[in-house]
Point group: C2
Chain length 327, copies 2
């Protein structure tokens, strides 16, 4: 299959998605009309084979899904509505079926996230390289940054943590989860869902002061939110996914520590005005059928600690995902 | 240097550029206010070490410059004004100086092209990977596609062709150009200039029916324009860079053929209403001090040919850059 034939095949897979795009795959660039009342938001994620994923533990379609989900999660973290994405592909020479399978996963996740795939680039590479850029839109007043957390704010996450890491370890054969835990963990690892609707909903609340996604693990991401907000945090309670608890047991690790270090969960982390939290959590639960888990409190002092049962504190290290680490 | 330290160092290099960006490097995504009267344009290019470039023939700073120039060229080809770009980096483990040097080249070209670098992604990779996405803006009426060429249109390019290919062959040691030719060829190969101002100027003319850049060689790119426009073309005259002529001589190749196959020249190819061409070329030359070279004519029949001196025709093959070929 030639390069131009492969581009044509990819355009067919993407077809039906591109509603807001005037000029899509095949020209020098894609063209769209941004909303006049909104700001535009852009995010980029590059995934490299054997750094971010391995084809031994994930199918090409799952790799594509996850790459798109990571970008949608970054848009969700800004409170933005997804608009369109471009995909730059590096594929091992000649393996066009790999590119097409990967692209099917991208297109599936894009349909789920209501984002148009508008074009991209295609080249050969020594390993599979997938660089997705996603554009979203958000009202200026809704846009939530990492830097808005205030001392006293309640910290909360949109879901239990650690399942994706448990799924990775299971897929790698490091641990062997039971069937039920394995199903949860592998689904979270291979087909994660970005919290796009949740992000947009939370962004509309003026009581939500800061928001980001937990893609690198709560310990690392909370450290970043605190750095951006010139604050600290006390972690009081970590919602642990069932499969993460099972994985931690198999590894004789603390489940809290396992969940804190687990990246790629794609849950959102927010800082909320403390008096507004309870009501927000009730409304969130009624709207999404999910729990908004309170995990801690923003501190004025620049330290990040977990609170022990006896009330003492233990410093937290950023033990989550490091992009220079290899899988 | 840790990942967060490297991001901070990169943000320092990018600083001063980001005028139109509300939220830049360091948050989940970058945020900007698109112009209300324009459409937005997006393009992505991925460059992979030993596929698109070699560190044996280009410095890291030149690699960065050229990657940004390729994206600016795609915006130029739409007639768009550059707005902002994101950069996804894969770097061989630990080589942060490589990333910073590369980033300096990106920032230099970005300043030249008046585009803000708004963020990106950073990861380790087995080889240097550079995926840039650029956003531009264009009035709906100015946006030029590949598909607008009409039978009888004059085809023209904004500059002589083949110098970048000559520079590559010289840098690889395949040929040895004399000092003057080498200087021209290496400059075009390592520090190409995207025709951003020319693209915006040409786009404002209603007589320019189609536009694209010659990044993959005129023979390949003209084939694409003709395919998009359901037309053919006759190439009557190819403007050949002096260094390209010297390179073809050394290789005992036809200079026309050498120039037709030479990718990465980043000149613009346009299809213009035939009666408007002469006046447009005079105004172009007065404005830019460069020649708008007439290269041929759009044909109704779907064949692409060169015209020989005796008036006979020779079919043209798309001999230019193939993204699955390795350097």
């Amino acid at each position: 299959m030639s390069e131009d034939e492969l581009i044509a095949a990819i355009a067919t897979i993407a077809d039906g998605a591109a509603k807001r795009v005037f000029v899509g795959i095949g020209d020098d660039a894609a063209v769209w009309q941004p909303s006049r009342s909104h700001r535009s938001v852009i995010t980029t994620d590059a995934l490299i084979e054997d750094v971010h994923f391995s084809r031994r533990t994930m199918s090409a379609r799952e790799i594509g899904w996850r790459a798109m989900a990571a970008n949608l999660s970054d848009l969700a973290a800004m409170g933005a509505r997804p608009v369109l994405a471009t995909v730059a592909f590096g594929i091992p020479t000649g393996d066009t079926e790999l590119a097409l399978e990967c692209y099917r996963g991208i297109a599936e996740c894009a349909r789920y996230g209501k984002i148009d795939v508008a074009g991209g680039d295609l080249t050969s590479a020594p390993v599979l390289v997938l660089s997705i850029t996603a554009i979203g839109e958000v009202r200026a007043s809704d846009c939530k940054l990492r830097s808005g957390a205030r001392p006293g704010d309640a910290l909360a996450v949109t879901g239990a943590l650690g399942a994706s890491r448990a799924g990775l370890l299971h897929a790698q054969g490091v641990i062997e989860l039971d069937a039920v835990a394995a199903r949860e963990a592998l689904a979270m690892h291979r087909r994660p869902h970005a919290r796009v609707a949740e992000g947009r909903w939370l962004a509309k609340s003026a009581n939500v002061h800061a928001m980001m996604d937990c893609s690198d693990g709560l310990s690392t991401d909370l450290t970043r939110m605190c750095a951006a907000s010139a604050s600290g945090a006390r972690i009081e309670s970590v919602p642990i996914a069932r499969s993460a608890r099972a994985a931690a047991d198999l590894l004789s690790e603390s489940p809290e520590r396992f969940a804190l270090a687990g990246g790629e969960d794609f849950e959102l982390l927010i800082a909320v005005a403390p008096r507004a939290f309870a009501h927000l959590a009730v409304r969130f639960s009624a709207h999404f059928g999910r729990t908004l888990h309170r995990v801690g409190t923003v501190l004025a002092e620049r330290r990040i600690v977990t609170m022990n049962e006896d009330g003492s504190e233990t410093p937290v290290e950023a033990t989550g995902w490091d992009h220079f680490r290899r899988v």
